[in-house]
């Protein structure tokens, strides 16, 4: 079994010259950060590391809430609707509501 996650983590660490507890690739995080705004130009070396861990915590939080909904529905597979419900029912995830609504609309449109 290939562990692509750890390998890509090592590769990304090699590119930036740093390896550490983070999992998500720092170069890609930097790329996404720079796309967020034209003003974002200079980023310290430590900022992507904080972002990487913050993303991890966010994903864990969404997972926990989506899992609660899955379990309440007496199911064992987290589906997209569970993730959407988790986002909608959590105030701090308001910035993700548009994403959830867009994905719901895109799902509805192909079905006549």
């Amino acid at each position: 079994m290939k562990r692509a996650g750890t390998y890509s983590g090592i590769l990304s660490g090699g590119i930036s010259g740093r390896t550490g507890p983070h999992l998500l690739p720092l170069a890609r995080i930097k790329k996404i950060m720079k796309k967020s705004s034209d003003d974002v130009k200079m980023i310290s070396g430590e900022a992507p590391i904080v972002f990487s861990k913050a993303c991890e915590l966010l994903i864990e939080e969404i997972t926990k809430r989506a899992w609660n909904i899955t379990v309440q529905g007496k199911r064992r597979t987290i589906c997209k609707e569970d993730v959407a419900s988790a986002v909608i029912t959590t105030d701090t995830f308001d910035f993700l509501v548009n994403l959830v609504l867009d994905s719901a609309n895109s799902q509805d449109s192909p079905r006549p």
């Binding site: 692509a4 996650g5 890509s8 740093r18 550490g20 507890p21 983070h22 999992l23 998500l24 690739p25 890609r28 995080i29 790329k31 996404i32 950060m33 796309k35 967020s36 705004s37 003003d39 974002v40 130009k41 200079m42 980023i43 310290s44 430590e46 900022a47 590391i49 904080v50 972002f51 861990k53 913050a54 993303c55 991890e56 915590l57 966010l58 994903i59 969404i62 997972t63 926990k64 989506a66 899992w67 899955t70 379990v71 064992r76 597979t77 987290i78 589906c79 997209k80 993730v83 959407a84 105030d91 701090t92 995830f93 910035f95 993700l96 994403l99 959830v100 994905s103 895109s106 192909p110």
Partner: protein, 153 residues
């Protein structure tokens, strides 16, 4: 028609995947969390829902970056640092993330400091090794002898 639409969706996904976070890593984070939450029963995740996790993380980075950039500007600086990110997290109501992130950053700093000191030591030992080498090698020794001969003359 539906097949073409599906192809278009796939191509769009391929273009945007380069800007997204890798699904394999996101999947591992989700799986690890689920194994913590459900010790008895196995809970799995549909592929489609993984896309939701990836997109959520990407939008979170956008949102947090823009907020951290504002914090940085207010302090009349141009480089976004870790403290700006921590303040931004508090502003967007993710203050609960700050303590574990500080711990994680501190661990990274300590590891980095260790690596730097180890690499400095390695450089010093290699320099010492090079200084000792000229007396032992024949090529360099021969040149020195030639110079001596020239000087004598």
């Amino acid at each position: 028609m539906s097949e073409k639409e599906k192809e278009n969706v796939v191509t769009e996904k391929v273009v945007s995947e380069a800007d997204e976070l890798p699904k394999t890593i996101v999947r591992r984070v989700v799986k690890d969390k689920l194994s913590q939450l459900s010790m008895d029963s196995e809970v799995s995740v549909l592929r489609d829902s993984l896309q939701g996790f990836c997109e959520s993380a990407r939008i979170f980075i956008h949102f947090l970056s823009a907020t951290a950039n504002d914090v940085c500007k207010e302090s009349n600086r141009q480089i976004i640092n870790a403290e700006d990110v921590f303040k931004a997290l508090e502003e967007i109501e993710f203050a609960e993330f700050v303590p574990p992130l500080r711990t994680s950053l501190e661990e990274f700093r300590q590891k980095n400091a260790k690596r730097k000191s180890e690499s400095l030591k390695a450089k010093e030992t290699s320099k010492k090794g090079k200084k000792k080498e000229p007396s032992s090698t024949d090529g360099v020794g021969n040149k020195e002898e030639d110079e001596d001969e020239i000087e004598e003359e």
